[in-house]
Symmetry: C2
Subunit: 119 residues, 2 copies
């Protein structure tokens, strides 16, 4: 990588958002705070270790907040920080695109299932 390259915000944002599961996590949390297991179910197919790594990274970046509720047993919940809530506009843009191009996203789903069957 060229450290001298011009700084480009959209390039860096894509670097964050293209991490596998990140956009699924953001989308799930846009509906409100979730516990770890609830979030795992909402995201679907992401193993718990990877989910934890992604959540820690998003917390480090200031995109989400983790709250430990002092009750027995203790409960942890995850919630988008304001910068994470602002990603609503990105998810909305993907949603609008997807609805307009249902044929393409349907093909993608078939591909995914074929890959799963092979793998």
């Amino acid at each position: 990588m060229d450290a001298e390259r011009d700084y480009c915000p959209v390039h860096e944002a894509i670097q964050v958002l293209q991490e596998k599961w990140t956009m699924h996590i953001v989308r799930a949390l846009l509906d409100g705070p979730l516990g770890f297991n609830e979030l795992g179910r909402a995201v679907g197919g992401c193993n718990p270790a990877t989910l934890k790594v992604r959540l820690d990274h998003l917390e480090d970046l200031g995109l989400l907040q983790r709250t430990v509720h002092s009750q027995m047993p203790p409960r942890t919940s995850y919630e988008l920080a304001p910068a994470g809530v602002d990603l609503q506009r990105v998810i909305d843009a993907i949603d609008a695109w997807a609805r307009e191009h249902l044929d393409i996203v349907a093909i993608a789903e078939v591909d995914e299932e074929s890959s799963a069957a092979v793998g």
Copy 2:
């Protein structure tokens, strides 16, 4: 995976867009057609084998068109199909978000460089 799950266009679109380099490729091609090597330079850091896999997948989905120009030596160029051009709205949304949250994307860049240094 649960094949019985409700079909959700935005979920499937995220499955496509979260493939590493895909959004970088789309963004580079929004400025116009590029040859394979030009595209590799524009995307930055993606190895040629992975770039080829991503381009083939995007072509299969109907998001881009590949043209082989009959000249000596033959030249191949890649160009977004109309459905790919429509992803402009997604890239614009990411761009707007990134400019508003420069602090976060700057942190992400530092993380990336640290990881590169360690790896």
